[in-house]
Symmetry: C2
Subunit: 124 residues, 2 copies
């Protein structure tokens, strides 16, 4: 289990044409691909590193009415449950409870301002 | 001059009621305030740390027609000029050229997808 030494916030950006966005950020920011999942050509989830700072590029959700924001946040922390419980206690709503999925252990909340925050870490 | 050891991405979130957002994130995420500028009561720019991961909470811009996104990105890097020039070379547009302002040396671009990216670092 990978426990981060320092928490990081990794923005998760959703695009109608994620491959085009990926190509642009590589060219524009010299971004390096550190993760890629592409179950169907063009349906992409990739993580990019800009000098060690990471963000995500993903396909599609902007057309999904449940996803009213094209930007979310992944916060890599050692203790996602603690953040989840604390946030629910003061008015956040659960998007999903702590769970293991796709090699991550994470939980997600929506804050009162419409932003989605996923707290989690990779699982070895 | 502070040169970061590792680049970080710090989301910059704009709220109609930034003080309310600040209070919520402190309570919900245990966030700690690491910077605060409040020239007028309620007109707030603050940086928050969640276990070392930082993001910004700022007042107002969502009503400004020039600011069509309520989320931007600050990327803390040692060489903002290099990122600025590289990004302009492949289709980003300049929001502002490298400059010193408010204790930061930074430059900002808009990407072809509508996101704004500020590359910079604090200046001692």
């Amino acid at each position: 289990m990978h426990i981060p030494e320092t928490s990081t916030i990794q923005p998760w950006l959703i695009f109608e044409d994620a491959p085009a966005a990926l190509a642009f950020y590589k060219a524009a920011f010299g971004a390096r691909e550190t993760y890629r999942l592409e179950p169907v050509p063009g349906e992409l989830v990739a993580r990019l590193s800009v000098g060690g700072a990471e963000f995500w590029v993903a396909s599609g959700g902007v057309k999904n009415p449940d996803m009213h924001q094209s930007v979310r946040f992944v916060v890599v922390v050692p203790d996602p449950e603690a953040y989840f419980e604390q946030a629910l206690g003061v008015g956040a709503t659960a998007v999903f409870a702590p769970r293991a999925d796709h090699g991550w252990f994470s939980a997600k909340v929506a804050d009162p301002f419409g932003h989605h925050w996923e707290f989690g870490h990779e699982v070895d």
